[in-house]
Amino acid sequence: MTRVTRYAHGSRVPGWDQAADLDKEPAGVPEPALVEVPAALRREIEAAMALYPDRHSAALPALAAAQRLHGWCSPEAIEQVACVMRVTPAYLSSVATFYDMFELAPVGRHSVYVCTNISCSLRGADELYAALEDAAADDPQINLRSFECLGACDIAPMVSVEGSYYGPLQLADAQRLVDDLQAGREPIPDLALSRLRSADPNANA
């Protein structure tokens, strides 16, 4: 549940109360000669488009690739994707704003998602999130977000650090996680999900 930024009169849309510029044309499909797209990004998007019968299906993987390169779905990133995919930037913006994992503003490069849904919160996820907020308060490189169920209720309360799962965390692990990230180490390796065997006694009988 990301905090929603509010603009004039509580609206979510910046500048909604400003008069529209009626002379301005809506942005069309970008002109290939005018947009510089990094070669690696272009290759990745073209490879994604080739996987589907309809190139539009590559919107999610293409935006994800651009976000990895630019750090967020910046206007520049969206224009580059639009140029390669031959769609309008507005189409991609409409897609990017729907999904939680696309960042619509610049963020820190270490993503830390804390599951605060029902099963994790029953086991102290809200307190863990507060502890992480304190620990990471002055580090702009850490993109801390409370997130919906991440599908790891067996290690509740848990976090996803750059796509890898860790848990169950004690409150004291919050500071350790932040310290590890700041030191450039793998964070809390002893709590990685991959260490765990199945809980079912008959699974490996």
Partner: protein, 429 residues
């Protein structure tokens, strides 16, 4: 601990080192079922699936064989989509299956694709499962190199490309038509049904959509034979089910049980029950979207029909246990906020209903509510159910509605204590 049952199919030796690699999977007899199925006529494979009585493991519990048979015959492009968007709170079975035994899923996909006559398959995996997507990608590359997927599988006539597609974080994309829109590169808004995906789905072509666990079960069905598989479990709910148990239990995790096992055995014998000194207050039998049950319902057999008869559902097979130290209002508020956040906004009853439910629950917590608010909140839930394109709104309305009915006294007591606290604070000021 009593030996609950001995049959493990999906979780059998799941932690064997290297099971995610083709070498170990094949040494254990992997891809033999696929060979057997490809040597059979598609109609014969469908007949085995039908005979197995396998019901979909994603939430709706629709018979898997019948669903595959719905795809019309003809010369159009048909698609198979594996729903690996597992986002239902409390559910984490597909994660473990995909991460530890990805080839079992790929084998199941080829079998289902052969049965339904699809030439392209997509695995839609939720964006948060990055590590699992990497494992699947590696397994797909191995299977392609071995000639098990792609053009002319095993040198025969059948071809099926399998593409892994990563989502980007949206609960609604687990809903099958929302998933299809997302896979087509759009916002994940559900579609009007009918036409159902089997008739008009991905790229307007006939599309079969199955959950990870459903597909992963198919190799075992072909290996054992449908009739043999149907002997597991109980009538109407055949086979085994991986149940994710979480919340207030001592050993949360995935447990594979034969359907029809008493719920008490799953929650207490396998998962260890609530912590010392605590009691079960309520439990969700099938993910956070299922109507809640109480301690009195613990002896209900865990299968589709028994849970439906008890007024709830098996859903995705995720048991969430809440103990007696947790206020029911906290649970309701947590859930309502989740569904408010995840509502796609397309249908008014869901978009507005989830929002107003959160606000009314917050009013109760703030001591500003009147007893009438509980009735209004109940009526909001009733007006959501059945009035939207998909069941996301219903998925909030069913558990919240059931909590208001079963814990009305507690809601009222909470309301009064907050009002008194507010009045006392006012008097002091």
């Amino acid at each position: 601990m009593s030996p609950a049952r001995a049959t493990t199919i999906l979780l059998h030796e799941i932690d064997e080192p290297g099971l995610a690699t083709l070498e170990v999977y094949e040494r254990r007899g992997g891809y033999q079922a696929m060979r057997k199925a490809l040597a059979m006529e598609p109609s014969a494979v469908l007949a085995e699936l039908d005979a197995s009585g396998l019901r979909g493991r994603g939430g709706a519990g629709f018979p898997a064989g019948r669903k595959a048979a719905f795809l019309p015959q003809g010369d159009m492009d048909r698609y198979l989509v594996c729903n690996a968007d597992e986002s239902e709170p409390g559910t984490f079975k597909d994660r473990e299956l995909m991460a530890k035994s990805p080839h079992m899923l790929i084998e199941g996909i080829v079998i289902a694709a052969h049965a339904a006559g699809t030439s392209r398959a997509f695995i839609y995996i939720r964006g948060e499962y990055e590590a699992q997507a990497r494992i699947l990608d590696a397994a797909l590359a191995e299977a392609a190199a071995a000639g098990y997927i792609g053009e002319h599988i095993l040198g025969g006539d059948f071809s099926c490309a399998v593409v892994l597609h990563r989502g980007a974080g949206a609960y609604i994309c687990g809903e099958e038509t929302g998933l299809l829109d997302s896979l087509e590169g759009k916002r994940g808004n559900p579609r009007l049904k009918p036409p159902f995906p089997a008739i008009q789905g991905l790229y307007q072509g006939p599309t079969l959509i199955n959950n990870v666990e459903t597909l992963s079960t198919m190799p075992a069905i072909i290996r054992m034979g449908g009739a043999e598989y149907a002997k597991l479990g109980v009538s109407g709910s055949s086979g085994t089910k991986v149940v994710s148990v979480s919340g207030h239990v001592q050993r949360p995790g995935n447990y594979e049980v034969e359907l029809g096992t008493p719920s008490r055995e799953i929650i207490f014998t396998l998962a260890g029950g609530p912590p010392e000194g605590r009691k079960v207050k309520l439990w969700f039998p099938g993910g956070s979207s299922s109507p809640v049950l109480t301690a009195e319902d613990l002896d209900i057999p865990y299968d589709f029909d028994s849970l439906a008869k008890a007024g709830s559902m098996l859903g995705s097979g995720a048991i969430i246990v809440v103990d007696d130290a947790t206020p029911v209002l906290d649970v309701a508020l947590k859930l309502a906020k989740f569904y408010r956040h995840e509502s796609c906004g397309k249908c008014t009853p869901c978009r507005e209903g989830t929002n107003w439910t959160v606000r009314m629950l917050e009013r109760i917590d703030a001591g500003e509510a009147t007893p009438m608010d509980l009735d209004i909140m109940s009526s909001v839930q009733e007006h959501i159910i059945g009035n939207c394109l998909c069941v996301l709104g219903d998925a909030m309305a069913m558990p919240i509605g059931s909590m208001i009915v079963k814990f009305r006294d507690e809601f009222e007591a909470h309301m009064q204590s907050r009002q008194l606290a507010g009045a006392a604070a006012g008097a002091i000021a």
